[in-house]
């Protein structure tokens, strides 16, 4: 049966090719739309688990972080970044801003111009960093010598550059005041083309632990404090009283609520196009299948007269649909590579995650189902003799 189906597909290769390209585009379309949906929450994702617990984000006054935190009760964990200026590659004029990020904050993976994000590096180098585009020619695969004040005088620490951060991407930083009280507010765009400070002082991203080994007591002023699950309301109140004496705070609940509100708004804006695309895809698939079936109705009638059952004919159609679907997956991959290779690729969101794969297989199954249901609906209403008679008219 499979061989028979393949032969049938080869006989009408032009029509199959058109179908495969069309389905591939439909798959690609869905994947980029789903990826765009996920993009809206990518800043929030690293914090999702943390924000479900009880805690606060505190913006401390300068230098008071450690002292205040030591006064708090039932602190489960603390998340923060450290930042300080360093000289790199022995050039005193090349002042970099070094940013150490803990595991949670490094989980936000920006798009890279080249190479990989430092947190994804699994190679042999003991210290991997990511740098932003810089006028000093530091690129992926280079080693950057970071100057530090050691116990025995100045020292250089050599770090492997795992990748270069893309211009225009965002990184975890202080408040931007564009979305107050939300996680999205703590991401800042880096752009060495339009922001002079970014050009003069490129960034080096690394693990928090490594950064603190280079220099301690450089905790950023924005700190996430997670309370223990058994903390009481009174203890929370007491902690907040201590913190609000000099610092401003946002509870995790507030942050979660505001962040989700922003995500919902963004999703609502792109939904009309997504819904339109979905309706369009549904209609296209049904129409294509109906046309194909109508075209082949005469052949089916001949098969039937020669002893084949309608059920077998539907099976042939099913095999054809699944084969076309699988071929489309391959073509979709080629399309995605082509779009990525074009300049467009930099700003197109294409990620092949679990949901996207589910969508692709869902569409293939849907197409297979339609290609079974539509022919069944048409052939069940027709008698072979009638079909042949109609074809000859």
């Amino acid at each position: 049966m499979f061989y028979f189906s393949l032969n049938a597909m080869l006989m009408k290769w032009k029509s199959v090719l058109l179908n495969v390209v069309e389905i591939a585009i439909i798959l690609y379309l869905g994947v980029i739309i789903i990826s765009t949906y996920f993009l809206q929450s990518r800043k929030y994702e690293p914090y999702r688990k943390l924000l479900k617990s009880q805690g606060v984000r505190v913006y401390f006054g300068e230098g008071e972080q450690e002292e205040k935190i030591s006064l708090l009760s039932k602190v489960e964990s603390i998340h923060y970044t450290v930042t300080f200026s360093v000289y790199a590659n022995g050039v005193s004029s090349s002042q970099f801003r070094l940013r150490g990020m803990d595991e949670m904050m490094a989980a936000y993976k920006p798009d890279m111009e080249d190479g990989i994000w430092f947190a994804d590096y699994r190679g042999k180098e003991p210290l991997a960093v990511t740098v932003t585009e810089n006028p000093y020619g530091i690129k992926t695969g280079d080693y950057v010598d970071i100057f530090i004040d050691g116990e025995n005088g100045p020292e250089y620490v050599s770090a492997y550059v795992s990748g270069v951060f893309r211009n225009g991407e965002e990184y975890v930083d202080g408040n931007t005041y564009k979305h107050p009280g939300s996680i999205q507010d703590y991401y800042f765009p880096y752009n060495s083309e339009t922001v002079p400070a970014d050009k003069e002082n490129p960034l080096i991203f690394m693990n928090l632990e490594d950064a603190e080994r280079l220099r301690s007591n450089c905790m950023e002023m924005g700190v996430y404090i997670e309370y223990a699950p058994d903390i009481t309301d009174e203890e929370i109140k007491a902690n907040e009283d201590i913190l609000t004496e000099t610092a401003s705070i946002n509870t995790f609940e507030e942050l979660r609520k505001n962040s989700l509100e922003i995500i919902t708004k963004k999703i609502a804006v792109i939904t009309p196009i997504a819904v339109g695309a979905l309706l369009f895809v549904t209609m296209s698939v049904i129409c294509s299948s109906a046309i194909d079936t109508s075209r082949e109705l005469k052949n089916y009638a001949i098969f039937f007269i020669h002893g084949m059952k309608w059920r077998d004919i539907v099976r042939i159609k099913l095999i054809e649909a699944v084969t076309e679907g699988l071929l489309s997956l391959a073509v979709m991959y080629i399309i995605s590579r082509l779009v990525n290779a074009a300049v467009l690729g930099k700003n197109i969101v294409f990620e092949m995650g679990r949901i996207q794969l589910l969508y692709c297989f869902g569409i293939i199954i849907y197409m297979a189902a339609v290609s079974v249901i539509v022919p069944a609906a048409i052939v069940n209403k027709s008698k072979p003799a009638g079909v042949l008679r109609d074809a000859e008219v």
């Binding site: 069309e22 739309i33 339009t194 196009i273 369009f280 296209s284 109906a290 075209r295 700003n347 197109i348």
Partner: protein, 396 residues
């Protein structure tokens, strides 16, 4: 003949004809929807990032060559060409380097004027190094007279000043070696609020044409009636830089647009582009199928002596008529029924649809793509010999 053909098509294959029309209709609606959402979001994004309708530009500097007022004036028509219709107001603030008096340089006296014609509604003034929006003083707050249109067009050396300046200089002000007659000044006894609103301490208003040549820094503030997009900022910024040299900086510098928002928009537009392509593929299928069903008719046309181009012409005209009808219907339904319901949720849509020419162009381009796809089907089916057509229809 054309209408009769279409009528008979509807009679013989009503479902397929509905498919063809519905596909085109839906395609137009989706394209329009995408256009609306895309531009609304872009304007929203740009308005939040760039303060929307304002273009601010600083040229020159205390230690650099400075653009002279005449140069500024002469360059403006060219710089703003293409934007005249949406231009609301254009203002220049200049800092003076004074050859004679120390007051101007030491106390950063600011000279204010407009290069545009009256009425001028607002001015900016420097106070404590910050820009503060102030209203143009109404006549009731002025002793003497306000500047008028004649002053601006004639370039008369006259000025309106704050009380402090009037008290210091009397009737005439000496600026950069040129004398300016003080024709109006801040009325005595204005309360603090009015004083701050209309007169900073050392403020002058001088007609643009009378601006002294020696200025150290010019700040150009242009207000538009509608939100600008970043490409407009780039065009204007480049024109200013070309006119005044590299010392110019515009407000788009230092700003970066949220990359995720840009990615979402571009991805959605790519999705729509692909939808148009799928629609074109469908069109090839639909028309191909309809023509396959009419092979016998085509064969008869050709056997009866019709040229292939004539036969193809009949089918292409049919395709055009069907698509034009569906496109027009989709366009009208969107404009009259769907769009008005979107105004409440998408705040920039009314502004975007003030001019529908871009939108019409987009729909025409989309329809042309679909028509071109139909043309392929027609060509493949018609440019066969009558014998091939008969063989295809009845088998070998």
């Amino acid at each position: 003949m054309l209408l009769n053909n279409i009528k008979s098509l509807f009679k013989s294959s009503p479902l397929w004809m509905i498919f063809i029309l519905a596909a085109q209709f839906a395609g137009v609606i989706i394209i329009m929807l995408a256009y609306s959402v895309y531009y609304n979001n872009r304007y929203e994004l740009e308005a939040s990032e760039y303060e929307g309708k304002r273009f601010l530009l600083t040229a020159g500097g205390s230690s650099e060559d400075v653009p002279l007022s005449e140069k500024v004036r002469n360059a403006f028509p060219e710089i703003l060409s293409g934007y005249e219709d949406i231009l609301e107001e254009c203002r220049i603030s200049s800092f003076l380097s004074d050859e004679n008096g120390e007051v101007l340089t030491q106390q950063e006296m600011q000279l204010q004027h407009s290069i545009m014609t009256l009425p001028i509604l607002t001015f900016f003034s420097v106070k404590d190094g910050r820009y503060v929006l102030i209203e143009d003083p109404p006549e009731r707050y002025i002793e003497g007279r306000n500047l008028n249109e004649e002053d601006f067009t004639s370039g008369e050396h006259v000025c309106v000043v704050s009380r402090e300046v009037r008290d210091t200089y009397g009737d005439t002000l000496d600026l950069c070696g040129q004398k300016y007659k003080i024709v109006g000044w801040e009325k005595e006894g204005l309360d603090e609020l009015h004083h701050l609103n209309f007169f900073s301490r050392y403020m002058l208003r001088i007609p643009a044409e009378a601006l002294p040549e020696s200025v150290t820094k010019v700040e150009i503030n242009i207000s538009f009636k509608k939100v600008l997009l970043s490409e407009d900022y780039k065009i204007l910024g480049d024109r200013f830089k070309e006119a005044f040299g590299s010392t110019v900086s515009d407000m788009s510098e230092g700003h970066t647009i949220n990359i995720d928002a840009v990615k979402s928009l571009k991805t959605m537009m790519l999705a729509v582009l692909f939808m148009a392509f799928v629609s074109a593929c469908n069109s090839v299928k639909f028309f191909g199928y309809m023509l396959e069903k009419r092979r016998k008719t085509t064969g008869i046309y050709l056997i009866c002596g019709a040229k292939r181009s004539k036969a193809a012409g009949i089918y292409i005209k049919e395709a055009f008529l069907l698509q034009a009808t569906a496109t027009a219907a989709g366009f009208l339904v969107y404009l009259k029924l769907i769009l008005p319901r979107m105004f409440a949720k998408y705040e920039y849509l009314e502004m975007i649809f003030e001019d529908v020419s871009d939108c019409v162009l987009l729909v025409v381009a989309y329809s042309a793509l679909v028509l071109a796809a139909s043309f392929i089907s027609v060509t493949v089916n018609v440019y066969r010999t009558p014998i091939q057509i008969v063989k295809k229809t009845y088998g070998k």
